[in-house]
Symmetry: none
Subunit: 184 residues, 4 copies
């Protein structure tokens, strides 16, 4: 995965993948049909934690405010993105998706659609509870996570030019949606 992230599909050499994995080149072919299959399987595998986190993170336990749920979710998402390679995987999917429709499909099915559904549910709850004023937001849950996505991309492309405090940006974004947070 590290190799694919660093170089993209086409530029990654199986030689390097094997070396990094500590096996011989031929061994790869005992487990994967070819380079494409390897790539797709790796992506699938890498996505699983994202899926799990979505499942766990978005069912708000009883007394919590919707904002807290979303903020907690985003905070852990951003934390992972900045400390692990998870964010690069997202970028990799953006990069290779058009050439690997199966990967894009899988990602859409397992992550995007589920994630958006969860966020939409949270938004609707927020509206019902009066936490969110803006009713139309439920139609475009993408808006809610857009800054997080931007942060991911920013991280891998521009971080060295201009560091971005993703958490702070997300907080400001949530303020827009939930209204200024009254100082605790």
């Amino acid at each position: 995965m590290e190799e694919f992230i660093a170089r993209g599909f086409a530029a990654t050499r199986l030689d390097d993948v094997a070396k990094r994995a500590g096996v011989a080149k031929g061994t790869i072919y005992l487990h994967f049909k070819d380079k494409e299959a390897l790539f797709e399987e790796l992506i699938r595998l890498a996505i699983v934690p994202l899926v799990n986190r979505l499942g766990a993170g978005l069912s708000p336990p009883g007394g919590t405010s919707v904002r807290d749920v979303i903020e907690g979710f985003a905070r852990s998402f951003i934390h992972e993105v900045t400390t692990t390679r998870r964010g690069d995987i997202v970028r990799l999917i953006v990069a290779e998706g058009p050439r690997f429709p199966e990967v894009a499909d899988f990602y859409y099915r397992e992550v995007v659609s589920k994630g958006l559904a969860g966020i939409r549910a949270a938004i609707q709850l927020g509206i019902a509870r009066g936490e969110i004023q803006h009713q139309e937001l439920a139609q475009f849950p993408q808006i809610l996570i857009a800054p997080a996505m931007i942060a991911v991309i920013w991280q891998s492309l521009f971080a060295r030019h201009a560091p971005l405090d993703a958490n702070e940006m997300f907080r400001v974004h949530l303020d827009l949606i939930f209204g200024e947070r009254r100082t605790t």
Copy 2:
């Protein structure tokens, strides 16, 4: 450019580029040192219209409201993205940026930093005029264009699973920022 967009840097063949350009393969080397130079030059060239549009689009003429300026800018941005390949160029930069720091740098310098500066100025104007309530937004102009970026990526990856009305999404986003638009 079409070839690079469709296949990415590594998977693009100069044979195909030459054919598409209607010249012989050798001719490319009369104008570019190698494949990398060709790629970087093409990206540079492709970015110019974006730069120009930024310059033109973001200096609000006299009496217009800030929201109208931004909405007009986003609308034309989205229009281009959905009708031309311009959006794919952005995706291409996201994809190849890490392997082409020069491209990422150039894009940051020419497009991102200028664009963000322009948007920040617009935001500050909006705040000054009382159109925008949320003062902290000026610190993170990325929030304002985030949905447009998401739309670009969505377009190339998921459009066939779930079409996205980018204009409508952006309008909802602006409603968040400027407050519900009173019907004219």
Copy 3:
């Protein structure tokens, strides 16, 4: 053997051989030094029945006419060739002989020279008994079995374009040598 016949030496995979033999790949190496040794041993083994048949088939028992002996021999040869893979082994030897001199040598020693000696003896007996007029035939016993060989090759190469009645062809050939057969 089936695998070698179907694909030739170089294109045959030991994986497939092992699978077909119902053993693991490693097991082959408990019995044969390497792929070449396996091939040579198999050919040797496959040739044995041919050798035996030659021994049995060509010592004419008392009262039979030479023509009947040869015709019987050819008939059973052709029968085997058309119903079993025996004929393909001959073709395989023709194919791989130049690269496996030991195989060619072995085949010459065990089959060809013995077979020709037997046929020559039969021819000489036929001449002595007055069944065969043409004395020089004894110098070229190859002539006698030539059509049978042709039939073998024809079978594997051209059967689907033009089926060949090998028995009938061989009968006509014998008529040439022994004279028109008086109807029994």
Copy 4:
């Protein structure tokens, strides 16, 4: 061709072919799609002289006896086989035919069927002229060329064990068919 003859299709290395041809490996791919295409084209090319010879050799000019025509044909056939690699090509086709149906088909169409038709016509002429007694021979023209084919195969497999005088063998065979040649 030399390489394919010496090693067969699978065992031939394009490296060696290129070296022998005095070009770089890549150059082969400017002219042939892949190794198979190269092989098939080469075979096609190699067969052309055989086809031509058939066309020229088998239309008996006016006053010649059928036997002389056939003997002349066979003699030049045998001459070529023993002095050039032409015979090995036939053996190569026998060897690789089953794995290259197109090659076998082509060979059948261009050489075998035409050749047999020509020989059958010659046989029928011989019968009409009273040179050939045995009428059924016309049904199996293969019988006539069988010894020549055997000679070809013998040459590449067994020549070093037991040289074979192909011309003399063929003469004896013709004596069988046309009757003992009266000494001129």
